[in-house]
C-alpha cells in the first residue's frame, strides 16, 4: 500500500466567498493597515462588503449573485 498524497494548499479561493489563508500572515487591508492572522486558517474578504475588514464576516451570502466574488 502506498501512502496517498493529499492536496493541502496554503491559499484557497472559495467560490462566491472568501479567500482562506493557512498559517501565519501579515495582511494589509485596502487602507494599508496591517492585520496579523490569529487562527490556524483565516478567511480574507473578497466581496469588499465585510464590516470586519480585511476578514470575511459572511456578508457575501446576502449579496446578489453578480456581486459575489
Amino acid at each position: 500500500m502506498t501512502a496517498e498524497r493529499f492536496d493541502h494548499p496554503d491559499v484557497v479561493i472559495c467560490p462566491g466567498g472568501p479567500l482562506l489563508l493557512r498559517g501565519e500572515h501579515l495582511v494589509a487591508d485596502a487602507d494599508g493597515r496591517m492585520h496579523r492572522t490569529t487562527r490556524p486558517v483565516s478567511a480574507v474578504c473578497r466581496c469588499g462588503k465585510s464590516a470586519d475588514q480585511p476578514w470575511c464576516d459572511g456578508t457575501h451570502k446576502v449579496l446578489p449573485d453578480k456581486q459575489k466574488p
Partner: protein, 322 residues
C-alpha cells in the same frame, strides 16, 4: 453538577435507579425494572432522561457513580430512547438528494432553510430580561461547545479527519485555554452576572434546548451517524457568522458586558472561516471518501436548522413576539 430535577415519571425512575446504584442502599434491580417500564410523562421528561444519560459521557454528575456511563441497564434504556428519537428526527428532517458539486449544494440546502432568527430579535427588540433568559438557555450547549463533534474524529479517514481537526483546533483555542470558545462564553457569563458552572441552568431550559443538545450527542456518540454529525456541524457554522454579529449588536444596544459581546464577535470571524472548512473541506472530503454519507450529511444539516427553528419559535411565542 448534580443530577437535574426530574420532569416526570421516566426521569424520576432513572434518577432513582442511578441513586440506587451509587449509594447501594436500595434495590437497584427493582429500580431499573421500574425505569424500563416507566412511561415518559411528556417530551420534556423523555428528553431530560436521555440528556442525563448522555451527560455521563461528558462531565458526569457529582452525585452519580461515574461507572454508570457504561452500565448495561442504563445503556439499554438509553438505546430505547435513542431509537424513538432518531426515528422522529428522520421523519421530520428528510433531506432531498444533493446535486454536484457537493459543497455548493450543501451551502444551498442550508441557505434554503428559512428559519426563525432569535439573533435578529435580540439585535432589534429583545429586553435585557429576555436576552439574559436566552443566554441562560444557550449555556447548555455553549459550555460544551465543539465537544459533541470531537467524538467523530477517530471515526474518519485521513482527509476528513485532518480537516475536522483543523476546525476543532480553533474551537479549542489552538492550545490556549483562554481562547477556548466555551471559556470565552464563561467569561461572558461571569461578566453578565450569570452562573457559568457547567449545567447550572439545566432545570430551567425548555424541552427544545434538551432536544437540540440530545441530537448533537446522538450524532456524536454513534459512529454510524458520523455523516449526520458533520452535516450538523456544517449547518451550525454556516448559520453563525451573521447571526453572531446581530447578537453582538443587540448585546451592545442593551448595554450588556463587553466580555459577552466579545464571545459573539469572535464567532463572527471564526465561523466565517469554519463554515467554509466545515462545508468544503470536512463534509466534502467525507462524501468524496464515502459517497453514501451525502444523504446523512444533509439529514444532519436539516436537523440542526430545524431544531433551532423550533427553539426560536418557542421563545418568540413565550415572549409574545411572533
Amino acid at each position: 453538577m448534580r443530577v437535574p430535577k426530574a420532569r416526570g415519571e421516566l426521569s424520576e425512575a432513572l434518577t432513582a435507579a442511578m441513586q440506587a446504584e451509587t449509594t447501594g442502599t436500595t434495590d437497584a434491580a427493582a429500580a431499573w425494572s421500574r425505569a424500563h417500564t416507566a412511561e415518559a410523562t411528556d417530551d420534556a421528561d423523555r428528553h431530560l432522561a436521555l440528556w442525563t444519560m448522555y451527560e455521563l459521557a461528558y462531565r458526569g454528575f457529582d452525585d452519580v457513580d461515574e461507572a454508570l456511563e457504561w452500565h448495561p441497564e442504563l445503556l439499554a434504556l438509553r438505546r430505547s430512547l435513542e431509537q424513538g428519537f432518531e426515528r422522529e428526527l428522520r421523519e421530520w428532517f428528510s433531506p432531498p438528494e444533493l446535486d454536484e458539486p457537493f459543497g455548493d449544494a450543501l451551502f444551498a440546502l442550508i441557505e434554503g432553510v428559512d428559519g426563525v432568527s432569535l439573533a435578529s430579535f435580540v439585535q432589534r427588540e429583545a429586553t435585557v430580561e429576555q436576552t439574559m433568559e436566552l443566554l441562560r438557555y444557550r449555556t447548555i450547549y455553549h459550555l460544551k461547545e465543539a465537544d459533541p463533534t470531537a467524538w467523530v474524529v477517530p471515526r474518519l479517514t485521513t482527509g476528513p479527519k485532518a480537516a475536522l481537526m483543523e476546525l476543532q483546533y480553533d474551537e479549542y483555542g489552538c492550545g490556549d485555554p483562554n481562547r477556548l470558545h466555551s471559556h470565552l462564553f464563561v467569561r461572558g457569563l461571569d461578566a453578565a452576572g450569570l452562573r457559568s458552572d457547567y449545567g447550572a441552568y439545566v432545570d430551567d431550559v425548555p424541552v427544545e434546548v434538551l432536544v437540540q443538545n440530545n441530537a448533537m450527542s446522538l450524532f456524536g456518540l454513534h459512529r454510524r451517524l458520523r455523516g449526520a454529525a458533520l452535516g450538523h456541524l456544517a449547518a451550525f457554522e454556516a448559520t453563525s457568522s451573521m447571526p453572531s454579529r446581530r447578537m453582538a449588536q443587540g448585546l451592545d444596544r442593551l448595554g450588556l458586558p463587553a466580555e459577552m459581546i466579545a464571545y459573539y464577535d469572535e464567532h463572527v470571524e471564526a465561523d466565517a472561516v469554519h463554515e467554509q472548512l466545515a462545508v468544503r473541506t470536512i463534509c466534502a472530503a467525507l462524501v468524496e471518501e464515502e459517497p453514501a454519507q451525502a444523504a446523512e450529511v444533509a439529514f444532519g444539516a436539516l436537523t440542526c436548522l430545524g431544531l433551532e427553528d423550533r427553539f426560536a419559535r418557542r421563545m418568540l411565542a413565550e415572549w409574545g413576539a411572533e
